[in-house]
């Protein structure tokens, strides 16, 4: 009897886990496995053929373009991370510690999400008339007499790309940081004040250490989103800048699937390594 009950429980557990396992297997594991397999295939100008060869990887690692583009991707990720962290932390701090009433907190929090009511691309494109050579920004600055000629670097530049990234992804930093901050016991701040800590000391010695898990989750969001992006870089740089995502999208446009797959595998590994390094620093498990 006991053995049968145990066996039943065992089977029931597997059955309960099966649907999710099937979904993950079919829609996550299988496609990634497929990409890995295809990355070893060969390609000619007009066809692709199954094979097991390292040509794609050899070409990828042999080309100086790859390193330049990966470097550019890291640069975007790093600058965007620094800016979203600064802005996101400040906003979350304001919401969590300066806004006293819960209603107001919820209202302001929803206000932050309003830009997300439209699509990603619309939010991005709406910068173009603002930043263009005869755009609102330039015209305003000229009419104020701050500048004589339109600024060329406002649009179709690294500046524009990073501006769009920051605009798109700051909320992904605000939400987890706000969430962690709301869990900080307020009496800890009082205890710090009682011990003679100034506002800045409380921030450095109490708030930031206790907010680390939230910062880390936000960092993972922003870094993975920026490293995997291709559309923002294309639109905001006017196709003058490249990152790894654009490398892949160009290959796909040219039907060079094996090459695209190889680049994707390398990008995936890079992102996983970055996340692994981040997780070495902070234990986020208590947040999940």
């Amino acid at each position: 009897m006991a053995i049968r009950a145990f066996a039943n429980r065992h089977v029931a557990g597997w059955v309960q886990a099966a649907p999710l396992a099937a979904v993950l297997l079919g829609f996550l594991i299988a496609p990634i496995a497929m990409i890995v397999v295809v990355s070893f295939w060969g390609a000619t100008e007009f066809s692709i053929y199954p094979a097991f060869q390292f040509d794609n990887y050899e070409f990828l690692f042999g080309s100086p373009v790859t390193y330049r583009v990966f470097l550019a991707t890291f640069k975007y990720a790093l600058i965007t991370w620094a800016l979203t962290l600064t802005i996101g932390f400040t906003v979350a701090y304001f919401l969590a510690f300066h806004v006293r009433s819960l209603t107001m907190q919820v209202a302001l929090f929803l206000l932050c999400t309003i830009p997300f009511w439209t699509s990603n691309i619309i939010r991005m494109i709406s910068w173009i008339p603002f930043l263009g050579r005869n755009g609102i920004a330039n015209q305003t600055l000229i009419s104020w007499g701050v500048i004589d000629e339109p600024l060329e670097w406002l649009l179709y530049s690294d500046f524009a790309v990073i501006l769009a990234f920051v605009h798109l992804y700051t909320l992904f930093m605000v939400v987890p940081i706000f969430n962690t901050m709301m869990r900080i016991d307020r009496s800890l701040l009082e205890a710090a004040r009682d011990a003679g800590a100034s506002g800045f000391q409380t921030l450095v010695h109490v708030v930031i250490p206790l907010t680390k898990p939230g910062i880390m989750i936000g960092t993972i969001f922003v870094v993975t989103l920026v490293m995997g992006d291709f559309i923002t870089v294309r639109f905001m740089s006017g196709s003058q800048r490249a990152n790894v995502g654009r490398l892949i999208s160009n290959d796909i446009a040219l039907l060079q699937y094996p090459s695209a797959a190889a680049t994707a595998v390398v990008l995936l590994c890079t992102v996983l390594i970055v996340i692994a390094i981040l997780l070495r620093f902070v234990n986020i498990r208590r947040e999940l």
Partner: protein
């Protein structure tokens, strides 16, 4: 042993919008005393403590420590230290770093502040756990750490906000004797907020009973218990019957009531065995409940059960007149 400093409240008032949490308090906490602020929740005792600590702004009046007005100073410059109800230990710091926190804020160099922290940890018998994180400690141990952290600043007055309420009853009794011992050793003033009358009676040199934003009565523990000034104090502190007399009210200690063959007729409504004594509640013909605390041996010589008729008697001299 240091001599203590006295704390004086002068017309101290706290308003939150239209509600008054603390109304015009005037009181001197004598130096080196263990003082308990006793009262039900919402009576203003915590607000008073938090104003002394500097975590709550004073709406009106002032607080003097050793003759100096401290009501406008930030908490750390007042010479007070506070121990929080849930201890408020920093979860990301070790026990030693928690204790050394205020020294670190002052810029004391690492070896010096750790030496000082270890000194305080040995005072509360926690040296062996100095490297643990607060989450690895039991409630009683966390409290010792919180105590060490508060004392590391060498305060003139230690403020304790319901320090024992998170502990189980067994530990609570042990910790309170340790608090009392520590206060004697240090000789500084302790102001301890509590809603437990037994805790206040056990600890306090002086009890300040608060109700409805004002002080109802202040005095030595024994005086408050034996001679409550108002009906509220008599009821809150327990062990008293409040009896309406033609010309006002009086209290009668429950242990002064005896059962006899003559006296006030009443019907037993409840019997509660408490070990050394038995608490018997009886309802008189006028509908008043009278509590009698009878020695265990005496009660079981002629046991009573609910529903039985008894006669309650007491000596007139044991009645104590109430002022209000």
């Amino acid at each position: 042993m240091r001599t203590g400093y006295d704390v004086e409240l002068v017309h101290l008032t706290k308003r939150y919008g239209d509600t008054v949490a603390v109304r015009d308090l005037n009181h001197v906490f004598a130096k080196g005393h263990y003082v308990c602020l006793l009262g039900p929740s919402g009576c203003g005792k915590s607000s008073t403590l938090r104003m002394i600590a500097g975590h709550e702004e004073v709406s009106d009046g002032s607080i003097l420590l050793d003759g100096q007005d401290i009501s406008a100073l930030p908490p750390a410059q007042r010479g007070t230290a506070m121990m929080f109800q849930n201890y408020a230990l920093f979860p990301h710091l070790s026990v030693r770093d928690n204790v050394a926190f205020s020294l670190r804020m002052k810029g004391v160099e690492k070896t010096a502040r750790h030496a000082k922290a270890d000194e305080l940890l040995s005072l509360v018998d926690m040296t062996h756990l100095a490297d643990r994180s607060p989450a690895q400690l039991s409630g009683g141990q966390q409290q010792r750490v919180a105590l060490a952290r508060a004392l590391v600043t060498e305060p003139k007055v230690l403020l304790l906000d319901e320090p024992l309420s998170a502990l189980d009853p067994f530990l609570r009794i042990r910790m309170r004797s340790e608090l009392k011992k520590l206060q004697r050793e240090l000789g500084i003033t302790f102001i301890h907020v509590t809603h437990g009358q037994d805790e206040a009676l056990a600890l306090a040199d002086e009890i300040v009973v608060m109700n409805d934003a004002v002080i109802e009565q202040a005095g030595p523990a024994r005086e408050v218990w034996t001679r409550p000034r108002t009906e509220f104090v008599a009821r809150f502190i327990g062990g008293h019957n409040v009896i309406a007399l033609p010309d006002g009210k009086a209290t009668l200690r429950a242990d002064a009531v005896t059962l006899g063959t003559e006296g006030m007729p009443a019907t037993v409504t409840a019997v509660e065995y408490q070990g050394a004594s038995v608490a018997l509640t009886a309802r008189t013909e006028t509908g008043e409940d009278v509590l009698a605390l009878l020695p265990e041996g005496e009660f079981f010589a002629s046991p009573k059960s609910p529903g039985e008729a008894v006669r309650l008697s007491w000596t007139e001299g044991r009645m104590h007149r109430l002022e209000a």
